[in-house]
Amino acid sequence: MLYDKHGPALVAYACSFVTDAGAAEDVVHQVFLRLLSGPVQTPDVPVAYVYRAVRNAALNERRSGQKDAPLDLDSSVFKRGDGNREAALALQHALAELPEEQREVVVMRVWSGMTLEEVAAATGAPLNTVASRYRYALGKLREKLQPYRKK
């Protein structure tokens, strides 16, 4: 099911808009409940549709007061097997600082497990554009996470 496969990635994606893991979860819930509750025209690429819907819902949520909520350690959307919470938070910050289209590509590729071709189909952007967005995004993330990788 779409929810099981892409749910965690969508929460991470939503979290980059609302800066609170709980609110991000709520946003993803909201979107899936809406999908399940009524007749929705099935789009050609459902993953892309869900990403768009989550983005819109997250932006609405942010507009309704979450915008400046400070991040705290408990609200981290990522976790690592080695328990490095600082790195997890740093990643969350770094993702939130990426331009939206780069962030989308990274989340779809790394945590939704989509190929760049699939991301291109989902976003409607040319493959070359998607590939360069991805490369730029990785470069920025690498730079931001460098101190934590050495630990």
Binding site: P8, H29, V77, F78, A88
Partner: protein, 135 residues
């Protein structure tokens, strides 16, 4: 560079995003109920159609047997069932003597029997006749 990216990609994938809590039960139930209902309806329709076709085939075979043999199978051998108008018409056209036999059999099935010794009708009739004689 490619290899560099792959390594970093692997590093990133070690961060696990929080798994969202399960969807509320009613939302799943509605979907599941709809699917189950559709499956049950499909199975019901399939079984109904199968039974109907089997019944039709059996009825056709029985009519054909009657037409071919010119006799009606004995009451012990076949279940009692009235022939349809279509079957009787076909018998009348194809095998008039078979029709007589079929009508006779149908009559036996439809009218209460009174030719056996233990027939309730026969006992009643005899009682009635006895009463009249006494009068």
């Amino acid at each position: 560079m490619e290899n560099h990216d792959e390594q970093f990609e692997k590093y990133l994938s070690e961060f696990e995003p929080r798994r969202p809590r399960a969807l509320p039960q009613p939302a799943i139930d509605r979907q599941t109920r709809l699917r189950r209902f559709a499956a049950a309806a499909a199975i019901g329709a399939f079984l109904g159609a199968s039974v109907w076709f089997a019944w039709k085939e059996q009825a056709g075979q029985k009519a054909a047997n009657i037409a071919n043999n010119g006799t009606v199978a004995s009451r012990e051998q076949t279940p009692r069932r009235a022939l349809s108008t279509v079957e009787l018409t076909r018998l009348a056209v194809e095998n008039p003597s078979g029709l007589d036999a079929a009508l006779e059999a149908a009559q036996e099935n439809r009218l209460p029997r009174f030719d056996r010794k233990d027939s309730v009708l026969r006992i009643l009739a005899e009682n009635d006749l006895g009463g009249e004689k006494e009068k």
